[in-house]
Amino acid sequence: MTNAKQPAIQVQNLWMSFPGKQAGEQIHVLERINLEVKAGEFVCIVGPSGCGKSTLLNIVGGFLPCSQGDVTVEGQPVAGPDPRRVFVFQENGVFPWLTVQENIGFGLLKKSVAERAGIVAHYIEMVGLHGFERAYPRELSGGMKQRVEIARALAANPDIIYMDEPFGALDFITRLKMRADLVRIWQSEKKTILFVTHDIEEAVQVADRVLVMSKRPATIQNIINVDLPRPRDLDSRGYLATRDEIFAAMGMSLRIGESEAEAARPNGAHAPKPQGLIPN
């Protein structure tokens, strides 16, 4: 664990561009990204689709090298994936050739058999897959598979968990449930979570803080503190206000049928003034 003063994740002046289709052409994806995540914090990144949220998370996770800038995790520059930080993918990364318990124990090869069995049993219980230890992923529903993946990440006992739209492929009801479960687990396990989603409601439901990204080339446009007590009431005024604040920051209307020009107006009727804008 990191000491309390030091941020768990620190990104400074990060730029990212990909080579384009034509020679010499560069597509700028990320510009001048700065962010900090404190140890034990639950932070969400939201933004329009295709803005580069996942790219940012992949860079922080060590799966992609950035073009320019510094990424420091737990005081050390990121050089690649590290077993102390585990990534949960949008497309399910559960190994279909292993059973539920084998999947969860995948990262525990160095532990003794008994120790491993204990950890696996603990997390199977935690994600509610009791009775499915010997089932293969093809026998599980999408939500159950995603729970296996989360349990596998937790079992490796990382300090940080990166999640890239982990519930994107699930149905609405399952998604709601999974969010509740994730927050419960996070509360008991005290991990740092950096969570990418395009679902604003999801972000407000789970996060301590929400980082709003702009369109490409993306930068962090707003940082919104979700100062709401948990468990969160999805009908409360505070919840709705925070949600609307993010919608407004992303320049979106909450009224279906409104013209795009009206919706895009920066100070729309519903939107409070954007705040916490990062000074450029």
């Binding site: 993918f89 089932a135 479960d181 419960r184």
Partner: protein, 275 residues
């Protein structure tokens, strides 16, 4: 998680079909037999109608097979052919799977070797017969070599494609856990590619069995391929020619059924669409 009631999983739907399951088994066995009987009847009628006394009737082929059994030749020939296919094919698997994985994993190796493989692949094993005789003389090694050649390319190509088509998310998930290169290979790459490799192996086994006739044209003096060629030498013994064909077909069917059993193992079943 707050006591989640176990969700109904897919297994309960696919594993237990209730009364329909039995129906399914029935059609799986009876229908093919009906087709086979119809085929035999059509064959018999065809020979009778054309009045050919060269092409044998099914019953004559049956008599030919019985004669072969009585002379103790059938077992000998089946064993000889299976022996050659077993060794040629085993060698092809031992060479083709590691080599194919290697090519699939290292892009430079694929670029270096693929043109050569694609060039050698379409050459029929029959074209290799002279080379096989010159290199291996008239021993069992020559047909084994031909069978090896026929099956090593499909195996290599399927293993290569399996690695190249592997879902990248498995690799990324694995990299999370800090595996060594060897662990990555044995715990992720191999199991992730196994379903496709097994399909490649199944196809290759069919090819290997297919070339057994050609491979036994070399002066080996046993085997089902030899039986066919020998029967041609024996004057009008086309009943034995067809008997050899029938035996090759039947054993091919059994081999395919056996290899298909591999696809039912839990480690690879995920890789096949629900059948």
């Amino acid at each position: 998680m707050s006591a989640t009631p176990p969700q109904p999983d897919l297994a309960t739907f696919t594993g237990n079909r209730g009364p329909r399951a039995q129906n399914f088994q029935w059609s799986k066995i009876v229908l093919p037999i009906v087709v086979a009987i119809l085929f035999l009847l059509a064959w018999d009628a065809g020979v009778r109608i054309t009045g050919s006394d060269i092409f044998p009737k099914p019953i004559e082929v049956m008599r030919g097979i019985i004669q072969l059994i009585q002379r103790g030749l059938l077992l000998k020939y089946v064993v000889a052919s299976l022996y050659r296919v077993t060794w040629g094919f085993t060698l092809a698997v031992l060479v083709g799977v590691p080599f194919g994985l290697f090519l699939g994993w290292y892009g430079w190796a694929f670029q270096a070797f693929n043109p050569m493989i694609q060039m050698l692949r379409p050459i029929s094993p029959i074209a290799w017969i002279p080379v096989a005789i010159l290199w291996f003389k008239v021993t069992d090694k020559a047909p084994i070599f031909l069978i090896f050649l026929a099956s090593v390319f499909p195996i290599t190509v399927s293993a290569t494609a399996a690695v190249q088509n592997m879902q990248p998310v498995y690799l990324r998930a694995a990299r999370n856990f800090g595996l060594t290169q060897f662990q990555l290979f044995s715990r992720v790459i191999l199991p992730a590619t196994l379903p496709q490799i097994i399909t490649g192996i199944r196809i290759a086994l069919g090819v290997a069995w297919l070339v057994v006739v050609a491979a036994e044209m070399i002066a080996v003096n046993s085997g089902l391929g030899y039986l066919i060629i020998d029967a041609r030498n024996a004057g009008k013994r086309y009943d034995l020619v067809v008997a050899g064909m029938v035996m090759i077909g039947l054993i091919g069917l059994v081999l395919d059924l056996l290899v298909r059993q591999l696809e039912k193992f839990d480690e690879v079943r995920w890789g096949y669409a629900n059948r």
